[in-house]
Assembly symmetry: D2
Amino acid sequence: MARQGLKAPTGRIRLGMVGGGEGAFIGGVHRMAARLDDRYEFVAGALSSTPEKAKRSGEALGLKPERSYDDFAAMAKREARLSNGIEAVSIVTPNHVHAAAAMAFLKAGIHVICDKPLTTTLKDALRLKKLADESGLVFMVTHNYSGYPMVRQARAMVAAGEIGEVRVVQVEYAQDWLTEKLEDSGQKQADWRVDPARSGAGGCVGDIGTHAHHLAGFVTGLGVAELCAELTTFVPGRRLDDNVQILLRYENGARGMLWASQVAPGNENALKLRVYGSKGGLEWRQEHPNQLVFTPLGKPVQTLSRGMGYVDGAASRVTRIPSGHPEGYLEAFATLYSEAAEAIEAARSGGKPDKAVMFPGVDDGVAGVAFIEAAVKSSAKGAAWVKLGGG
Amino acid sequence: MARQGLKAPTGRIRLGMVGGGEGAFIGGVHRMAARLDDRYEFVAGALSSTPEKAKRSGEALGLKPERSYDDFAAMAKREARLSNGIEAVSIVTPNHVHAAAAMAFLKAGIHVICDKPLTTTLKDALRLKKLADESGLVFMVTHNYSGYPMVRQARAMVAAGEIGEVRVVQVEYAQDWLTEKLEDSGQKQADWRVDPARSGAGGCVGDIGTHAHHLAGFVTGLGVAELCAELTTFVPGRRLDDNVQILLRYENGARGMLWASQVAPGNENALKLRVYGSKGGLEWRQEHPNQLVFTPLGKPVQTLSRGMGYVDGAASRVTRIPSGHPEGYLEAFATLYSEAAEAIEAARSGGKPDKAVMFPGVDDGVAGVAFIEAAVKSSAKGAAWVKLGGG
Amino acid sequence: MARQGLKAPTGRIRLGMVGGGEGAFIGGVHRMAARLDDRYEFVAGALSSTPEKAKRSGEALGLKPERSYDDFAAMAKREARLSNGIEAVSIVTPNHVHAAAAMAFLKAGIHVICDKPLTTTLKDALRLKKLADESGLVFMVTHNYSGYPMVRQARAMVAAGEIGEVRVVQVEYAQDWLTEKLEDSGQKQADWRVDPARSGAGGCVGDIGTHAHHLAGFVTGLGVAELCAELTTFVPGRRLDDNVQILLRYENGARGMLWASQVAPGNENALKLRVYGSKGGLEWRQEHPNQLVFTPLGKPVQTLSRGMGYVDGAASRVTRIPSGHPEGYLEAFATLYSEAAEAIEAARSGGKPDKAVMFPGVDDGVAGVAFIEAAVKSSAKGAAWVKLGGG
Amino acid sequence: MARQGLKAPTGRIRLGMVGGGEGAFIGGVHRMAARLDDRYEFVAGALSSTPEKAKRSGEALGLKPERSYDDFAAMAKREARLSNGIEAVSIVTPNHVHAAAAMAFLKAGIHVICDKPLTTTLKDALRLKKLADESGLVFMVTHNYSGYPMVRQARAMVAAGEIGEVRVVQVEYAQDWLTEKLEDSGQKQADWRVDPARSGAGGCVGDIGTHAHHLAGFVTGLGVAELCAELTTFVPGRRLDDNVQILLRYENGARGMLWASQVAPGNENALKLRVYGSKGGLEWRQEHPNQLVFTPLGKPVQTLSRGMGYVDGAASRVTRIPSGHPEGYLEAFATLYSEAAEAIEAARSGGKPDKAVMFPGVDDGVAGVAFIEAAVKSSAKGAAWVKLGGG
């Protein structure tokens, strides 16, 4: 349990944030995640593009006035010149801002931690990837579910051949918070997510479908070759899809189904992955993330538990507390921050992080956007088969 | 709990069986189901088309030698002439025999209980339906999962509007027994199920996909208008599909996904239905059939339990024992037999059974075959959208 | 799956019943259980001690008038003389009748299947045991939970040393149906169970505590040496205990806790056993009886499922249908009836049943009554430690 | 979700720590908990009583050398004199050090956060209570499970009468890590916990039995009047109890059972509480802490989920992220730290925290020690009934 212990937090990484001011949800999550393992120090922000709100938010979070900006471009420029300027930035705005903000900080030589989906168009995503690749800077996209230890356990088991050749992938991410027309109430989270101008062409498919898509790819190591997507809008007057049903053809011949919904009453954040191979299966649920179910063919069902002695090193190195004491969403998120910290610290001295370090990078971000574009295109054609573009 | 009590079993229904001899599985289930509520007396059979086997099986089951046949046509003819001849027959053969056998008994004026899928072609199904409709005889197709009390509870709740307008249907039936090439071992169940000549054009889709399709329709009251089906054969050398992934468009605009698989390790008979509407959701799992999960939007998740005072009359009338004492697969199967008994007993006196009596009929059988044909056709076109034929 | 198949039911056992008329619950269960595997024929009864009710019940169940009695003593005498008289009798009356009825039939040379608790006093139980032992007749006490396949699996695993030396037993049986004063409503089941004259000195402890006690003993093979029992009556005005909490000291030094309650809202028939040894643990729940959880120390939790290839022969020989198709309470009850049938059939020819045949006998019945007496005595002393009498 | 947001962390509380150096477990937990909500700054420590180890641990954690002590008494004295000295101290040593350390810091005017059990004797606990009460300082005992939102939800529901009058309490805390003689391996956690000199007279009963005892009291609001405890040592050669079975009599007449075990294979940190009243029941499990099961008599079982709109304010004010995104052990621990922070911040200005603030205090610590002493005494008398001392 490498994270719990006495690892020196020598020289916390100076971190800034774009977005995440008053009324935001995910900004607070990023800050708690950055704090948990004590590898970051939050020192600057452009927390809102509304000056007054940016100011209030900065004060509330204890930023020094001169490090609280209302313009990410200005922030990138000025921080790059400060001797104690930020080394990394978290971009936690609505989707349409990601591309420009990420490019500004990359150009300023600052490592980037960016929320998903990476951008609102594949074209932007590919431009951003080019810049990120050339910069040599650390670039993390917060497909945060890959920070859960038992997700890493699943990935290690698939890679080790414990379920044989992967044949079937069943992945889903169901929520219910948009079952009614919440956006009409002015609720901030709902408001921008259903607005194509800020969210991009995908609604539910971009917001949570991408998480399901990434999780399946992360665990199986397989890419999607083609898909057939039925995107539906059930709530009258809503401008983007709120229910997503997709058939997937993986590169190795495996077949998959992906369901994402924000109109499924009783589902909170019901992300669930099942993978079946020629020798066994695996099942993982985000709402009870400390367990992984392994079903070797013809043998008793096994429930593996985070923190136990038998778990793979890839899972145990990102675990903080003993088995039976649940770790949750914030811990998984914090793990990604600590993985990025490993890479950033290595970069300080011109090196590379340990091979075991693992986090979603710009390529994962591009793949997510390619997935959204293909799904939207397929659905527009009446749910026809479409090949995935991108990388 | 109407079934447990003192209801007079006056005049058990004389029952025959076609198929279900040595090595068969489902025949024994039908016999136990017929026996549980004491409404039937098993008196004749053409238990195998192999004379020696038919004879041995008849003896083993206590049939009188003269009531043990090796030819269903001869059986239908002779039983029709006997003063104590069978009143009903159960047809539990491989699929390709269903149509001819059912027609023979209908023509002989004998009520029919037929396993699913009804026939191997839609054309046959429609011919059979015509005959059944004209005959006025009772015709039950054993989509047995509709015999579970909590499935009936779900149907009643949807009908009562408790989940609002149905939007999303997620149904699946996963097994693992064909993960390896069991048919090569000579195992009888596997053998005929993967043989197009005996099973029909659908493998997994016909064997268990039809159960999933029927269950969703039974609970929601909705028909499928179009589907897009990806049928896959994962086990090398197998001649029929062993994994089925389908997008569904329901007549009311609801959207569905159906997954059926016989190559998903760790799944025994994992039939599971989830239905989401504008006001709530329902979830039911065959492997734990005494519970029904109801998720009214924004309220605590409710788990309803068979036998409790709050369950709908439609569920409590087909329940035998108190809540917490699990009823299982045989009880649900027995319920269908008892429902058919109600209809057969009513027919004895030229009447109709009580309105509460409910069992899948020939129309359900036709719908199942139409579903198979559409799925096979869609898949043959590379998983294109196909409208459902039939009724 | 020996029970499903073609086993010849040649010569069904002629069965009678004492009790189980109108308004009774358990009589119907016994009849369905006797019917499921087709080893019995129900031909005579003293279904009630009220003549009119006995008559009506007999008619409703299709008994011939001359085989429908209102007095078990007369029934025993007459049936013993008939050439086609009953070979076995099921005694399903309130507890206070068990002893006299069982003795009457034993004396008449008729095999006995008796509900639990065996008698209302240990003295009676020991007298009955003496008579049963001397008679050489089959005597089964329906501690029915021992008929569940996965309970037998648990027993086999403990016996095989898979959990090492047993150290800790946690067993409980919780219900909620007596949370309010149901007996005041005239409900028949509640009425006699809370009446010391008919139920005996124990209320909840006798009604369901004995099931928990037997289950733990059946699985572990261990006897209770001493106990310390707190019997409580929570519902004002009730005459017998409705909540039972007991510390147990087993003969081998293991320690146990037993909780039985009929006033625990949300519990239907929540019988649950957990056993922990030096190498592993086992957990079984009656409400989901097809699974058994096995926890080998330091390894993933295993969930074993009835019907799978890896289950012990002791479990698979009493299984009817494939895994994933749940068997329930009636099937387990039916298994006891079929086990008794094996013994009765063997007795017909002067032999013994196969060694694998297993059912609770008169010794188990005596142990149950000794348990009740010790618990009542302990509680009367303010929950002091008391040694178990009996055997 | 008050904790997630923009609450100003103005002036973090300066925190010190006694214990928690190399090889310790709970020290790291306290530090993460203190960090999560950004209310504390960790600035001083006596992390070990071994000078070299204290030094190394302090360096590893980034303490300034002059704030890293090897003697808590010296630390208390010096920190009290510093202008930027610590305002609060966390005492996370083995049990035998708690009393002296807590007294030293109280005398130095420093707020105390102390691990449980409070002390190794009731006499010490009462002396400490006296000092704490007189000091007016904040004193928190980390019965950390009371920090879980759904535990607070349960408490609020009991207080609101939703389950009626409490009748039955079933509480348990099972682990398996001491099933074998781990202490012989030199494992630090095991080593001191089974040593009476460092752990006190109770082993398992003190280590985890106290958590179960506190949880039940916290939720029900009831105190234990008498108990009858069977403490057992199953592992040969172990010096303290490793399995605990207790009957409880609550002050209001409710009856309880408490099971704690460290030798129950398959149990990780299986703390579970069930409470039944005259109108309903509640069930909560630490291993899946975001759900609370509520069983109103005669109605469907309800599963309440942390973060949903219907939860009580007492639960939602200590929640950080939306429902369905699990919070775990560290979050609950962090909640206690933030609750203490509220009290410490209020004390800075001579005030009291908001009434909603809630954390276990010195009285809870005394009650825990009284519970241990009574259990040890009862067991020594052969499991006789003993009244609880203390307050």
